[in-house]
Symmetry: C2
Subunit: 154 residues, 2 copies
Amino acid sequence: MRTTFFALAIVGFSVFAAGDSSASDKGADTLRRLEAEFMQSAIEHGSTGYMSYYADDAVELPNGAVILQGKEAIGKTMGFLDNKDNRLTWTPVGADISASGDLGYTYGTYEFHSKDKDGKSVVSRGKYTSIWKKQKDGTWKVVLDMGNADPELK
Amino acid sequence: MRTTFFALAIVGFSVFAAGDSSASDKGADTLRRLEAEFMQSAIEHGSTGYMSYYADDAVELPNGAVILQGKEAIGKTMGFLDNKDNRLTWTPVGADISASGDLGYTYGTYEFHSKDKDGKSVVSRGKYTSIWKKQKDGTWKVVLDMGNADPELK
């Protein structure tokens, strides 16, 4: 009986502690789930799968290159995802969403596996931020994506 | 008379064309204005002025370094803004805000003016994304900031 009461007390406290952040947490979970689907789509369908998650008016801020405006311009730089030697994976570290549930973001780390000119496997690591916006048709799309580098390994 | 009618027609069309994006445009203008104040604060008050625009739970994704979690950890890396030889300026290129007006972002370009070891003025240029969130006290703070490099000059 004491155990039951203690368990109920914990549940009660947890519900209380979650408070007004539960809607936001739920929205952030939506973005994490979307991001997993986005990555799977890129792994299975290369650049076409990757770009299918971008909004028409998306912006890309690539490291060491100029800002790319629009899905069409961004798509032209993503052909490397169609090379079977290349594999881009990423892991969200954090996510948040607006109260209205129409704008949110994720950030995290990525790994890019490829092969050097001698055919040896190489991996580069970095970080990313993706901003997601709900479109007029109800789907979520990436409206901004940016990446940069991890510290160089000594 | 024809000229007047034509002018009125243009005004009418402009109002119509603005449609439901006007609230969003107004919110994005708020972020652009905030960003100008943010920059001025950094120029006038160094790292203290810069960090006064960060939320306590902010995240920094610096190029070539690991993710920094929290205003305190980020603040420890911003001391370079207190050196009078250093000057960081930035210019937003785009901005957007959620329908609920509590989450938004800006992105653009930055210039970092400093001096090399011989005292010669040097400038490095890059891009940034800043995500802003309205806090419980009604103020807007940066919750995520990320930068990366422009193309290297040949």
